[in-house]
Symmetry: C2
Subunit: 191 residues, 2 copies
């Protein structure tokens, strides 16, 4: 769960089109809202899976859940459709300035991304290096290549810079990752 960051309080005197101060998740959510409202793409964040243990049925208007626990998601956080293509991704933030640790991804999330790629979908990670204020989109095929060719437990930033695409920030939509998807679709590797 990404809880709202205390740093994200908005400073009225300073409009910053960069990505400082907002979580990657909230940036993606407002971007998806923009894409949806403008009929560009239909991409949603999946609800967080919660295991409900105790429920109070006496509350007639709205069933009250009295005991529940967060569960580990079996897939990624985001999926949807763009230009007829199935889109599936997860968003990760790291404070590191040099690499992205694979400890940030569950094994079954990696497996899921690979499955989607193999079934003809466009799957990827959006990785934000928050200290560097840089965000990249890395397709699953490069993740797979890295996993198959390296024993390292973290992907060097240089690898991500070389193989991935930097994602631009803007005013609205905040994070223009759809522009990157256009490049990927044009590349025709998914045709």
């Amino acid at each position: 769960m990404n809880y709202p960051n205390k740093k994200s309080s908005f400073n009225k005197n300073y409009i910053n089109y960069g990505n400082r101060g907002m979580t990657l998740e909230s940036d993606i959510n407002v971007s998806n809202k923009y894409y949806l409202e403008n009929d560009i793409a239909v991409i949603y964040k999946k609800p967080t899976p919660i295991k409900v243990v105790k429920v109070d049925y006496n509350n007639r208007i709205n069933t009250k859940i009295k005991e529940a626990y967060y569960e580990i998601p079996s897939t990624t956080d985001y999926n949807g459709i763009y230009k007829g293509k199935y889109i599936d991704f997860d968003a990760k933030e790291t404070k590191s300035k040099t690499s992205f640790s694979l400890n940030n991804i569950h094994k079954h999330q990696l497996d899921h991304l690979i499955k989607i790629k193999n079934h003809g979908g466009i799957s990827f990670l959006i990785i934000k290096f928050s200290t560097l204020d840089k965000t990249y989109l890395l397709e699953t095929k490069w993740l797979e290549e890295f996993l198959n060719s390296s024993d390292r437990n973290s992907i060097p930033l240089n690898f991500i810079k070389e193989k991935g695409f930097e994602v631009d920030y803007n005013y609205y939509p905040r994070l223009e990752y759809i522009k990157i998807l256009d490049k990927i679709i044009k590349g025709e590797q998914y045709e």
Copy 2:
């Protein structure tokens, strides 16, 4: 939420390949598991959206949610990928023998199905007439046609029989709706 049905206790002396006694949701879930394990399709049920109000952080091992409420989903329950196509649907049960009431679907769910269709995805409803022990798959284009041409608040079974496809039950996978998707894809209306 579909809670387990009391009628679903398994009778060892009677193997029934029909669909009596299991909820449509559990039938779809076991079918999706089969499709996933056999690498045929990657289709998941989305978690039920829950609004968390109070959380107990003292429980160090696993954060305990102390107060939460079910929310109305903004999309459908199921989505995923099959043969490179984006798949999106909802599953509904009715006890009626003659029609499917549109009160069973939220307006924003209908809007979502139509959006997905317009973006080139395959979207539909799986409707189980539990009293008749019959299940149908109805594509969004027919839902739309019905909504645009009729003032009725329920879709007659005859319309569903004529425009939709009956979905067969089997031992494993329980509900072979992928066979119907093959017919739809062959029909090339999504090419």
